[in-house]
Symmetry: C2
Subunit: 465 residues, 2 copies
């Protein structure tokens, strides 16, 4: 069992001293291993340490960027949005709470290692026993951390199961029903929703973001490998271009409609806005049983197909009117530059509003939505084409909010009903996940093993410990 093996190895092996590479350490003990002619030992060290950037796939000057896995909040939310995404939702195949906890413990150790640029397990790709599967699948062995973050969350079904189509309630498999936050709702059916159940929901979600897609896919592959026998993948999504900035230091990217997207995003540089719109606050708990989510957030995912072929045949005037911004600089049609606040009251010489009544900017603006904002972290996807030759492409919308009942459902209800852009959009997947708080700094070693006194530490411990 991969799970048992990895957990066991990670928890019993003495971790290397901080700053000493695994390669150096293994060099001391591995030289005599008889693993076949020509085989190497001592591999499976800090990834990319020997060959950091010289032409490896996706390796760039900034490829060595490493984000800590620990912190008050999970990484991958306010972290400057990396270029690439791989996300996976999993369903548990076990009904054992102990196995669920064991999986989260394993994932915690692996995630700390992977985000640190280490292989998934301590013996890496090639320095383990020759007659056992390697700890790490190896395809990222020469690649640096590439800014990898791994963010974990829990779907509503983890707490109360999945209702049957006839309305029969789901089963609380893990004794978690009374820990369900009221805000982890079943999202309503929005107008024009065309959701594919196979692309929606899930007990667990893992968001892997990195500047190299191979690093992100490698991480999810190794985490899901550790789930063998406990959980299976329900859906995955590759996103190749970020469509939001989460830091004022980042340039606003463009979506597949060719427009700058996410200009009004909540960013890492706005602590007050993050507290108000993104992080779950102590007062938000329904009662003590749901206080486990304090310091966490909610993640809304929506797979939004964009009918780019039709869009591409509309005039620039039509496109800008629908969006409410110019296509060039992204300035609101009421004037100014990209970051000028839209003037929703401004009218032109004919008395018509410069920002149209059904434009996306107007309908999504905080002033139209009770002042709410969100931290968007979406990615552009392209998943082949349909039988008519049209691209199955669009926006994998991801947004972190403090409460989806106030910060997502009302806005999406308005947009789905009134936004003129909806003519070019189709929501084909959906999910809502509770994102637990982070593991406090100082409780994990860089190789993921808990420090003394913190053996109970793992992602989601506030819910399950």
């Amino acid at each position: 069992m991969t799970t048992d093996r990895t957990t066991h190895a990670a928890e019993t092996a003495a971790p290397p001293p901080r700053g000493v590479s695994r390669r150096a350490l293994l060099g001391l003990v591995g030289g005599a291993a008889a693993i076949g002619a020509g085989a190497t030992v001592g591999f499976g060290t800090l990834r990319g340490s020997a060959t950091r950037t010289s032409g490896a796939s996706g390796a760039t000057a900034s490829a060595a960027t490493t984000y800590a896995f620990t912190g008050e909040h999970q990484a991958g939310i306010v972290t400057p949005a990396q270029d690439r995404l791989y996300a996976a939702a999993l369903d548990l195949t076990t009904t054992s709470r102990d196995q669920l906890v064991a999986l989260l413990r394993t994932w915690t150790v692996m995630a700390a290692r992977l985000t640190h640029g280490l292989p998934a397990g301590p013996t890496g790709t090639t320095s383990g026993p020759y007659d056992a599967p390697p700890d790490d699948t190896g395809e990222a062995a020469d690649l640096p951390a590439a800014g990898l973050t791994l963010t974990f969350g829990f779907g509503r079904s983890l707490f109360v199961g999945t209702p049957a189509p006839d309305g029969t309630p789901g089963v609380d498999r893990f004794g978690l029903a009374d820990r369900l936050p009221a805000a982890l709702v079943e999202l309503p059916h929005f107008p024009r929703d065309a959701l594919d159940p196979a692309r929606s929901d899930g007990d667990l979600i893992i968001q892997a973001c990195a500047d190299d897609p191979q690093v992100a896919v490698h991480a999810i592959r190794n985490l899901s490998r550790a789930a063998f026998g406990t959980a299976t993948i329900r859906w995955t999504q590759l996103g190749y271009g970020r469509t939001s900035s989460t830091s004022t230091a980042q340039q606003t990217p463009r979506n597949l409609f060719g427009f700058k997207d996410g200009t009004a995003n909540v960013t890492a540089e706005e602590p007050d806005a993050l507290a108000e719109h993104v992080w779950v606050q102590p007062d938000d708990a329904d009662d003590a049983r749901t206080a486990w989510l304090t310091g966490g957030s909610y993640l809304v995912v929506r797979r939004i197909r964009m009918t780019v072929e039709t869009w591409d045949r509309t005039s620039l005037r039509e496109q800008e009117t629908l969006v409410g911004r110019t296509k060039g600089t992204g300035a609101p049609l009421s004037g100014g530059t990209e970051h000028t606040e839209p003037n929703l009251a401004a009218t032109g010489r004919d008395g018509a509003p410069l920002i149209a009544a059904r434009s996306h900017v107007r309908l999504a603006h905080p002033s139209t939505n009770g002042g709410v904002r969100m931290l968007r972290r979406g990615y552009t996807f392209t998943d082949g084409n349909d039988a008519l030759g049209r691209l199955d492409a669009g926006l994998f919308f991801m947004a972190y909010v403090r409460d989806p009942r106030t910060h997502y459902v009302p806005m999406q209800t308005t947009l789905a009903r009134d936004d003129a852009l909806m003519e070019y959009l189709q929501h084909t997947g959906s999910g809502l996940f509770a994102i637990p708080p982070g593991i406090p700094d100082g409780l994990l070693r860089p190789d993921g093993t808990p420090l003394d006194g913190a053996r109970g530490t793992y992602v989601g411990a506030s819910l399950l410990a």
Copy 2:
């Protein structure tokens, strides 16, 4: 009609002098355009000229790399393999040879522009008429060229149509049957093939490679947009990690089995090997009617799903035995380092060959295949998962060869029958395309318009002019 519009504009507009940016030029003439409050003019210039690398999606220190579209051979073959791939096969919906030629002319102009970092058409994203669709879809407006290459090819069906399942011959729609090179065969059914017709073949292929996937997808999207009414997309494939090097200056990447791949690839630094194994030679023409392909090549594509979940449960010993190389350094199991020539005769103390009889390295080695080599240019893909939660992931194999009858079919016949790795592989898509030679240097301006005296110039002109 997008096609007509783009072609017309590109062929009649006076191109800017070399080295003068489109932004500067448009600034002189566009200032008075009345295109709505807050709208910008003068946009749609050399992409990324103002905002080259500061945090844009995928923009890197090397993002400004530009490869010429013209040359003796098409770019994108010996060009150092870029990090990302987007490929599309199209079927013609017209039966007009004139429309086919018009499409190739349009594509030529657009490809020269796009690979040069220019928008798809001369008015770019926002500086065209306000009541017309923009020339360029815009999502790459802030991105540099990112090493984009565009490589075009012709499938057998372009020449002789597609045979019906009952064996009825296809239709020669364009009067090209007698120009069909004998080597552009229908690939045989190989053992264990599980080909999906919707992922196979096609009249035309476009290979877009770049270091930023958004740049590659943008290029194909704009090229296929120009084909509206003439051709539709049959299949597309996104590849996120290169699995071959085409230059000795590149580090050998790893495939999803975690092994270094393509170590023995023909590289740009081997002109003699390129002439022998990759470029179609004058003597290869069956007769004068097929001499149009001289200086070109053949592209074999195979979508190879890798059952990584099963692979990940095999031992390191089994994996290395199947491949015939070590997983760490990629050295042959007969000893040495990555680039040491495998010693297929070497045996161990027990008399067994160090490189197993059914290992991939042995069966794919030139000495096992009459000395043939190929220029591989494959990419790793991940296209979601199946209903059992297994990743639909693998290798999108692409190889350029001088003659598929000698350089691919025999080897693949051997591999499909005998390679022990086949237990973990499934070929789900397939295609073979004739890749015409390049457009000689000096016949196109940087913006894609032909120079005086070269108005007949376009990709494929040797076949169709």
